[in-house]
């Protein structure tokens, strides 16, 4: 696996997470208060960037041999405020665990976490 798979995922995770936090905690309250402009812009951006998040997140979970259930949680994390940040921390930890295992010459890259 290339390190770039992880890097791509991390960039997209933080981008979608920040946009979603702005959308939920700033833009939506503004919309309720009668200023819908920001919600439209940020909502559109998050919408399309989430599609890219899905692609890069799926790519990373495949390379790390993440089981189906956890893969789906990672994909959904992009639609929950702060979810993508938590998923990013866990996947990065999983990545370095597997990298250490590979460096020790141990076979396989299966994840060690439930």
């Amino acid at each position: 696996m290339e390190h770039t798979v992880l890097k791509r995922y991390r960039v997209m995770a933080y981008t979608t997470a920040v946009l979603l936090i702005v959308l939920v905690f700033v833009a939506v309250p503004l919309q309720v208060a009668g200023h819908p402009e920001l919600a439209t812009v940020v909502g559109t951006m998050h919408g399309f960037l989430y599609l890219i998040y899905l692609v890069v997140a799926f790519q990373l979970t495949r390379t790390l041999h993440i089981p189906v259930g956890r893969t789906i949680l990672v994909l959904i994390a992009g639609t929950v405020p702060f979810g993508a940040i938590i998923a990013e921390r866990r996947l990065t930890a999983e990545y370095s665990r597997q990298a250490r295992r590979a460096a020790k010459g141990l076979p396989g890259t299966a994840s060690q976490e439930a």
Binding site: V68, A102, A110, A114
Partner: protein
Amino acid sequence: MRDPVPSVHSPARRRIWWTRRAVVVHVALLMWIPGCAVACWWQVNVGLSGESLGWVYSVMWPGFAVFGTIFWWHFVHDDPESLGRRGLRRLQREEATGDLAPRPVDRSAPRDFDEGELALARAEAEDPELAAYNAYLAALAEDGRPGTWRAR
């Protein structure tokens, strides 16, 4: 002579479609696609009511349906024995019993160690004295270093 690659119609190839796990994935997809269609239609109505964000989401739901289909294909073709905790247990079992045949270099394995670190890790694995000495040097270097969030 037998064909080394099973044909599409061979029982081995057909079996993966009807395992319990595969059936769960099929059912999930069968619920997902109509769900996306309904959500798309709902967003079209939101768009028609004058909310422009509705048009954005009405484009995205068909996209989610396409992604769902791609994920479904991958999940059906997964080997559950190589995933997650189960995969690790299998590897440990093979290591313990010595069944592990020498494998070709796994190019898909994560790499964030440079060649030097890799060579060092291998040398240390072969030479416990070297490993002990390096650990001693690392402990010396650790002393007196201010603690940061990186240095755990």
